[in-house]
Amino acid sequence: MSLDSDLWWAVARSEEVTSQKPLSVDIGDQPVVLWRDNQGIARALEDRCPHRRAPLSLGCIRDNGQIQCGYHGWSYDGETGRLKEIPNMKDQQKFPPIYKANAFAVTEQAGFVRVCLNPKAQAPLSADPKYTYVGTVNVSCSHQEYLNALYDDPSLILSVRGVRFSPYLMSELHEENGLLVMERNCQWHPLHWPSHFVAEFPLTLLTRTHPLTGETQLTLRDDQFNDLLHAVLSPVPSARGVTAVRWRAELGVRHPGVRGAVLRGINPLSVHASIDGSKLRATKPTVSLHGEDLRKAMLETKPATHDQTVAA
């Protein structure tokens, strides 16, 4: 997983980033602190005070929108990362340009705060759909393994209320408009025939995944092509091999009957905070086996950009 390109990672949900308390996140091994300045703009700096390397996320946000280290009170501007104040040096408040924390590019789209490690990166354009259901989980599983689990058996990482994922694909993983796309047959839960003897499946789960970030749009639709549920799942590689997953979901067309009502119950989508190791171990790497080859082939022919963001 390359982290040094111009990729935009959805590291937080918009509501998680406030002007009350800094938020600590990671992009791979890079700790990042997020907050909102006094204009409500999300800011991102390395989560490391250049003075004595204390995490800035342990500090506070001042009324002027700057972040202040909790150790010696050094304050930094969110846009540039420049040092603005040292409390014990009130007489000297002009500092050389090298007195700064690394600042990262930030943008907000579709309810996510996205950060790019390249501060000069151009933010992609995106639609701004509304999502009612949201969540954040940190899964003790590498980013690639997490995506492999999604490809091979989504039930390892998420549940859709009243829906069972079958092992049968309507469309195997393939490239479509720069994204990795597949469609899996699903059934209504709990009453259903064994999936291996079923002639028609009433539902499919369409997934569209960015080949680098793994950000995935999920669409559950019925056999009449009605979209019943939309969700965006954003796995971000974090420290210690953990994958931080933020997600947002919205219900679509109402499916008639009890099943449709069950789907529209409280929180139709659940993203699991842990993966069952015994189930993961026994899951055959079928889709994922070629997923990596396909991803590499795609990137060789046409390097991915975030213009292909799945939330667009």
Partner: protein, 357 residues
């Protein structure tokens, strides 16, 4: 032209079979990556005729979407759902309206996957034990799925020695006085004939067909139509019944297989006629138990060669024939060199008097 497979199967050091074959053939067998084989310009069976009604149902061949419905009673196969907001281009496999060539025969809906202009009923596989206009009772049909690639499922089928172990509780164990396997092939088909003398009686026949004897003579034929991934599995049991099965393995994706099976047990006794088609549910799960973990292990080429025995001759020929056909198609040659729709009754040894339509 149908040839007898007299090619010694291997001179692989790892093989238990006698040597003497062509090194090209040997290498080809060891380059077997069924996941990468994609056949086109062929009729694929995608649905039982009764499944297609006014409401669209969805199918796929190699992940290409196929929506089936009836328009004034006539089956339609489209690339797009009528309610779909079309955001993708039409494929090369459909006409200007996004429609696949489609036909109904043997009670099955067939879709032509390939150049639409090349679609021809003459390329429909011969299934002489099924009524051409369909009409068999539904209890003789079923839909079964395999979590494996279609060639893996078919290689499993043509290797009948596995049945003595995996399906012993249905078709009987491996004990017999003698067993021979012959293989015949042409550019479009591979046919295997297994003859067993005094084989243990299949339990399903013992219980539901009233066979009292401890042994029976068995002649089993597996005939595979390579392009369409369809097979005939025809067993003649003496004493016992004739059990002809249409066993298609439609590749919905390269790693998932759909089987719209039809077993014509019309000539069997009442109990057996109803029970035997249901055995497919049990047998298919037993097969899937082995083939689903096997399938990912054939997704990539490996230098490690498979071991073979003399009973694998048909499977090896199947690998060879599929690879030759795939190679030909990769070079742009989609012509049929042999006629798959010619009546194959004699080849499979069908007792025609039992199957008059």
């Amino acid at each position: 032209m149908l040839e007898t497979a007299d090619r010694p199967v291997s001179h692989d050091d790892n093989s238990a079979a006698p040597s003497g074959g062509s090194p090209i053939a040997l290498n080809a067998i060891n380059r077997w990556v069924p996941h990468n084989l994609v056949m086109r310009d062929s009729w694929f069976p995608v649905a039982h005729d009764y499944s297609v009604t006014g409401k669209p149902v969805r199918r796929a061949v190699y992940s290409h979407p196929i929506f089936l419905w009836r328009d004034n009673g006539v089956a339609v196969a489209s690339e797009f759902h009528p309610n779909e907001r079309i955001t993708r281009d039409k494929s090369e496999f459909t006409n200007a309206q996004g429609r696949y060539p489609v036909m109904e025969h043997y009670g099955v809906v067939w879709v032509w996957f390939g150049n639409p202009l090349a679609a021809d009923p003459r390329h429909l596989p011969s299934l002489p034990f099924l009524p051409p206009k369909g009409g068999l009772p539904r209890h003789m049909t079923a839909t079964v799925r395999f979590e494996s690639s279609a060639p893996i499922s078919l290689e499993n089928l043509i290797d009948l020695t596995h049945a003595d172990f995996l399906h012993a509780d249905v078709v009987g164990d491996e004990r017999s006085d003698s067993e021979t396997v012959e293989t015949f092939y042409d550019s479009e088909t591979v046919t295997m004939v297994r003859t067993c003398v005094n084989k243990s009686v299949a339990p399903v026949m013992k219980f539901f067909s009233g066979i009292k004897q401890p042994t029976q003579n068995v002649r089993q034929v597996i005939r595979i139509y390579l392009r369409s991934h369809c097979a005939i599995a025809y067993g003649r049991f003496s004493p016992g019944d004739d059990v002809p099965l249409f066993h298609p393995c439609t590749p919905e994706t390269r790693d998932r297989t759909r089987m719209e099976m039809v077993m014509n047990t019309s000539n069997a006794g009442l109990m057996f006629r109803h029970v035997m088609p249901k055995a497919g549910y049990k047998v298919s799960r037993q097969d899937s138990y082995m083939t689903s973990p096997q399938s990912p292990r054939y997704m990539r080429h490996t230098d490690r060669k498979d071991l073979h025995s003399k009973f694998d001759q048909a499977g090896q020929r199947y690998r060879m024939a599929m690879m030759e056909l795939a190679d030909r198609q990769a070079k742009g040659d989609f012509d049929y060199r042999d006629n798959v729709s010619a009546d194959c009754s004699d080849i499979i040894g069908l007792r025609k008097e039992l199957f008059q339509f």
